[in-house]
C-alpha cells in the first residue's frame, strides 16, 4: 500500500556482464546457461511536493474538527478571527465618534447659511459672512437636502456593511470563514472587507434581464417601490440624542406607515415577473407583511403608554435614569411587559424583513427565490438593499423603544461619558447581530403556521401586554 519511495539500495551498478564480444569465444558452453545480464534495477525517484501552488497540508488530521476545536489558539489566523468582533466594534465606535463630533458643526453650518458671521477657516482667520444672502426658505431647503443625503447614505453604507457582516457571522456560525480574499491584490484583505463593494460593482455591470412574459413597467418599478418607502421611513429615526433628520411628534406612526408601503412593491414584483413562483411569493409576502404589521404595532403600545408620546426623542428620554442607581430604566427592564413587548416586536420585525424563520415569500427551497426570482443585476440588489435597510430600521427601533436609546447601561463614569450616538449605534448593531443569529439558526415556518402564529399567538399576547401596561400605569407608575 505504501507509495513511499522504495528505499532499497540500488543494485551495485548492475554489474555489467563481461562484454559479449570478449567471453563467448572462450567458453560458449559455459556461457549459454549463464543468466542474461540483469536489466538495470529501476530506482524510483524520491517524490517531491510541488509547493509552488500553495501551502500543502500534509497531515490531514490537523484539519479534523477534533483537532481544530481542541487547540483553537494554534489554528493559523484564529487569533485574528477571535479579535474580529472587538476590532469591528472598535472601528465602528471610532467612525461613529467621528460622525457624531462632526454633527456638532451642523448647527453652526445652519447658522452660517442664515447669515451669521464666522471665521474664514472655522477656527481661525478673518471673520466673514456667507457671501450669498439666502432667503430663510432656501436655508431650510439646503439644510433639508444635507440631512436627506446623510440619511440616504446611512441606508446605502448600511447595505455595504451589514451584508458583509451577515456573511462573516453566518460563516463563523457554520464553522466556515466567509469572505477572506476580497480587498487588495497586495494582500491587505482584512477578512474580505471589500467583498460587498466588489459584489456591488459586479451587480452593476450585470445584464439587466426583463423576462419576455413580464409586465415591463411594473417589473421595473417594483424595486424602487420597495426601497423608497424604506429610505423615507428613516427620516424620524433617532441616531443619538437630538440626531434626527426630522423631529416629528408622530415619528413612530410615520415609520410604521411608510414601512408598510413596501409590501406593494413586493406584490408588484411577484405579479409583474410573469413567473408562477414569483406570483406565489408575492402573494405570500403580502399576506405575511400585512399580518405582522398588527402585532408589531400593538407590541409597542405599552412603550408609547409609558412614554406618553409617539416622538422617538421623547420615548428615548423617558428611559433615562436608573432604578436604585443601578438598573437602567429601559422599557425592556419593566417586569413582564417589557420583555414580552420586546420579544413580540423582535419577532414581528424579523417577519417584516422576510428573514429566515419567516422567509416564506422568498423560500429558496420552495419558490426558488420567491418574488425576486426574475430580477437580476441592480434591480435585484435594490431588493437586497431594502431588506438590509429594514433590518437596520428594526435594529434602531428596538434600541430606541426598549434599550434606552442613547443611555448608558452602566451608571458609572467612563460609560456615562460615552456620547449617546455611540451607545445607540452599539445597541443597534447588537440587535442586528440578533437578527443574523436568528436567521442562521432556525428553520422556516409554513404559510398557515405563520398566520396562526401571528393571529393566534402574537396578537393576543400583545393585547394582554397592553392590559398589563395599563395596570402598571394605574397602580405603579402613577
Amino acid at each position: 500500500m505504501s507509495d513511499k519511495p522504495e528505499e532499497k539500495k540500488p543494485e551495485p551498478a548492475a554489474v555489467p556482464a563481461p562484454a559479449p564480444a570478449a567471453a563467448p569465444a572462450a567458453a560458449p558452453a559455459a556461457a549459454a546457461p549463464a543468466p542474461k545480464p540483469a536489466p538495470p534495477k529501476y530506482v524510483p525517484p524520491t517524490p517531491v511536493f510541488n509547493r509552488a501552488n500553495g501551502r500543502l497540508i500534509e497531515d490531514r488530521f490537523t484539519t479534523w474538527p477534533t483537532q481544530v476545536f481542541a487547540n483553537r489558539w494554534s489554528r493559523p489566523g484564529f487569533q485574528w478571527g477571535a479579535g474580529m468582533l472587538v476590532g469591528i466594534f472598535l472601528g465602528l465606535g471610532l467612525t461613529g465618534f467621528a460622525i457624531g463630533e462632526l454633527s456638532v458643526w451642523a448647527a453652526r453650518v445652519y447658522a452660517i447659511l442664515g447669515g451669521e458671521p464666522f471665521k474664514k477657516f472655522f477656527l481661525f482667520g478673518p471673520t466673514v459672512v456667507f457671501p450669498v444672502k439666502l432667503a430663510p426658505l432656501a436655508v431650510d431647503a439646503i439644510w433639508t437636502a444635507i440631512k436627506v443625503l446623510i440619511v440616504l447614505h446611512v441606508v446605502l453604507i448600511n447595505g455595504l456593511w451589514s451584508i458583509w457582516w451577515e456573511r462573516k457571522i453566518s460563516a463563523h456560525i457554520q464553522s466556515r470563514v466567509g469572505p477572506t480574499y476580497a480587498g487588495s491584490p497586495s494582500g491587505w484583505n482584512f477578512h474580505g472587507w471589500a467583498q460587498t463593494a466588489i459584489d456591488g460593482i459586479k451587480l452593476l455591470l450585470k445584464e439587466d434581464i426583463t423576462p419576455a412574459a413580464a409586465d415591463k413597467w411594473v417589473h421595473a418599478l417594483a424595486p424602487g417601490l420597495v426601497v423608497a418607502p424604506c429610505i423615507i421611513a428613516f427620516a424620524p429615526v433617532l441616531f443619538g440624542d437630538g440626531m434626527q433628520a426630522a423631529n416629528l411628534d408622530i415619528g413612530t406612526l410615520y415609520i410604521f406607515a411608510f414601512a408598510g408601503i413596501s409590501v406593494i412593491g413586493v406584490v408588484m414584483a411577484g405579479w409583474a415577473s410573469g413567473n408562477k413562483y414569483s406570483l406565489l411569493g408575492g402573494l405570500r409576502g403580502a399576506a405575511q407583511i400585512v399580518s405582522y404589521e398588527l402585532p408589531r404595532g400593538f407590541s409597542i403600545v405599552p412603550v408609547l403608554m409609558f412614554a406618553g408620546s409617539l416622538d422617538l426623542q421623547v420615548i428615548s428620554n423617558a428611559q433615562a435614569g436608573y432604578w436604585h442607581g443601578v438598573i437602567p430604566r429601559w422599557f425592556i427592564f419593566y417586569p413582564v411587559v417589557g420583555q414580552l413587548a420586546f420579544v413580540i416586536f423582535l419577532i414581528a420585525s424579523v417577519a417584516e424583513t422576510n428573514r429566515t424563520p419567516f422567509d416564506i415569500p422568498e423560500a429558496e427551497s420552495e419558490l426558488v427565490s420567491g418574488f425576486h426570482t426574475e430580477y437580476s443585476g441592480m434591480k435585484w440588489s435594490i431588493f437586497f438593499l431594502a431588506e438590509y435597510a429594514y433590518v437596520l430600521l428594526g435594529s434602531f427601533l428596538l434600541a430606541t423603544f426598549f434599550l434606552g436609546g442613547g443611555a448608558s447601561p452602566i451608571n458609572a463614569v467612563p460609560f456615562t461619558l460615552i456620547p449617546s450616538w455611540m451607545w445607540m449605534l452599539g445597541k443597534a448593531m447588537l440587535m442586528m447581530f440578533v437578527f443574523l443569529w436568528i436567521r442562521w439558526t432556525l428553520p422556516r415556518f409554513r404559510v398557515d403556521q405563520l398566520m396562526d402564529f401571528t393571529w393566534k399567538f402574537l396578537l393576543p399576547w400583545s393585547f394582554v401586554n397592553i392590559a398589563i401596561a395599563g395596570l402598571y400605569l394605574a397602580f405603579w407608575l402613577k
Binding site: 500500500m1 457554520q174 423560500a363 427551497s365 420552495e366 422556516r444 409554513r446 398557515d448
Partner: protein
C-alpha cells in the same frame, strides 16, 4: 386565498375559486435533490394533482452489466446510489458470491459491516443536512458536512476514494484496515456521539421543525406495506422490518443493535428514524472494531474473470435508503446474463403521486425531502 376556504365556503361562493396553476417543480429546482421533475397543479397553495417525472439520469446500468465481467460490475454499482455506495458494492458482491458459491472470511465480513455502517452515517448526515435546507435551516447542513467530511476522509484513507469506492470486492474487500485507520475511526466515533445530541437540539426537537414535519405526509403502515416501501420510510410508519435483523448478511446477527421504529409515519418519524439509525450505526461500528477478527481479508475462489455456473441468485441488504436487492442470472458466461436492481429510492418515490394531493406547496418539499431519494438510484 383558497387554502383559507373550507369546502362549505367554496360551494356557497363558487366565484371566489381561483384558477388552477400548473407549476413545474424541477428538474432544475433547488430542492428536488437531483433531476426529479414534478408537475404540480395547484389551487392557491394546495396541490390538486402531482405527476412525478423521472428518467433524467438514466444511464442504463443494468444493460451495461450484461457486457462486463463480474469484477467490472462492482464499479458500476458505485454509481446507483452515489451517496452511499458501499451497500451497493456489497449487494452485488453478495449476489455474485451466492452465484459462485464463495464464502467470505470473517475479517472481510466485519470490514464490510464497518464500511456499510460508516456509509450509512455519511448518507444520513447528508439527508439531515439537506432536509434542514429544505425546511430553511442552513446551519445544520454545514455541521453535518463537517462530520461527513471525516467519514469521507476515513474512506479515502482506506480505499482511496471519497464517493465511488469500489471497496467491497468479490470475495472480500479491497484492502485491509490498518491499526491506524481503526484508531482514527474510533476517534471519529467518540467525536460524533455528542454531535448527534447537538443535531437533536438544533433540528430534531426544534419547535418550528416539528411543526413543519409532525403530522405532515402521514403514511400509514398499511399504505407503506402496500407501496412496498422500505428502509426508514417503512420503519417510520411503525413497521419493524430491517433486512439486517430479518435476513442477516455479513454477520449482522453478531452485533447488538436496535431498529428504530416511528409511530405514525409522518415526515418527522421518517426523519427521526434516520437520526436514530445513526446512533445504532455508531453502536455497530464500535462492536465491530472491538471484535474485529484476524485473518485474510479476501477469500480465494474468484478467478480473474469469473464464470459462474448457470443459475440465479438474489441478494438484498439494508442500504441507507432501504431494502436494496439485486437479482443476477448467469448463463455460464463471463458477464451476467441479466442483472436487475430492486432500488429502494425508486419504489419509495412511487408514493409521491398520491400523497402530494391535498398538501401545501411547502409540504411538498417536506415530504420529498423526508423520502430521501437519490436520483442516481431512481433512474439507474
Amino acid at each position: 386565498m383558497s387554502n383559507m376556504m373550507t369546502a362549505a365556503d367554496a360551494s356557497t361562493m363558487p366565484e371566489l375559486k381561483t384558477d388552477q396553476l400548473f407549476i413545474n417543480l424541477g428538474p432544475q429546482h433547488p430542492s428536488t435533490h437531483g433531476v426529479l421533475r414534478i408537475g404540480l397543479t395547484i389551487e392557491g397553495e394546495v396541490i390538486v394533482k402531482a405527476v412525478p417525472d423521472i428518467g433524467y439520469l438514466h444511464r442504463g446500468t443494468e444493460k451495461l452489466a450484461e457486457v462486463r465481467n463480474y469484477h467490472h460490475c462492482v464499479v458500476l454499482t458505485d454509481r446507483w446510489d452515489y451517496v452511499s455506495a458501499m451497500p451497493n458494492n456489497l449487494v452485488f458482491c453478495l449476489a455474485a458470491e451466492k452465484l459462485a458459491g464463495v464464502k467470505t472470511t470473517p475479517r472481510a465480513d466485519a470490514l464490510r459491516v464497518i464500511m456499510c455502517e460508516m456509509n450509512r452515517i455519511a448518507s444520513h448526515l447528508l439527508f439531515f443536512g439537506t432536509y434542514g435546507i429544505d425546511l430553511g435551516a442552513y446551519t445544520p447542513f454545514l455541521y453535518a458536512f463537517r462530520e461527513r467530511e471525516m467519514v469521507l476522509d476515513l474512506f479515502e484513507m482506506l480505499c482511496g476514494a471519497r464517493l465511488t469506492y469500489n471497496y467491497i470486492r468479490l470475495g472480500g474487500v479491497m484492502v485491509d484496515a490498518s491499526p491506524e485507520w481503526l484508531k482514527r475511526t474510533g476517534e471519529f466515533i467518540e467525536y460524533f456521539k455528542p454531535r448527534l445530541d447537538e443535531y437533536d437540539t438544533l433540528l430534531t426537537y426544534n419547535p418550528i421543525f416539528m411543526a413543519r414535519t409532525k403530522g405532515v405526509g402521514i403514511v400509514t403502515a398499511e399504505e407503506a406495506k402496500s407501496w412496498a416501501l422500505s428502509g426508514p420510510n417503512l420503519r417510520g410508519s411503525g413497521v419493524n422490518y430491517d433486512v439486517r435483523k430479518f435476513a442477516p448478511y455479513s454477520g449482522y446477527e453478531n452485533y447488538d443493535f436496535d431498529v428504530p421504529v416511528g409511530t405514525d409515519g409522518s415526515c418527522w418519524d421518517r426523519y427521526f428514524c434516520r437520526v436514530s439509525e445513526m446512533r445504532q450505526s455508531v453502536r455497530i461500528i464500535e462492536q465491530a472494531i472491538a471484535k474485529l477478527p484476524a485473518g485474510p481479508f479476501m477469500a480465494s475462489g474468484f478467478a480473474k474473470v469469473p464464470k459462474p455456473v448457470p443459475g440465479e441468485a438474489y441478494a438484498h441488504v439494508e442500504a441507507s435508503r432501504g431494502d436494496l436487492g439485486i437479482y443476477l442470472a448467469s448463463d455460464g458466461g463471463i458477464s451476467p446474463f441479466r442483472m436487475h436492481v430492486h432500488a429502494p429510492s425508486f419504489i419509495n418515490l412511487a408514493m409521491l403521486q398520491e400523497k402530494l394531493v391535498g398538501m401545501k406547496v411547502s409540504d411538498v418539499i417536506a415530504l420529498l425531502g423526508s423520502i430521501d431519494i437519490v436520483l442516481g438510484e431512481v433512474d439507474r
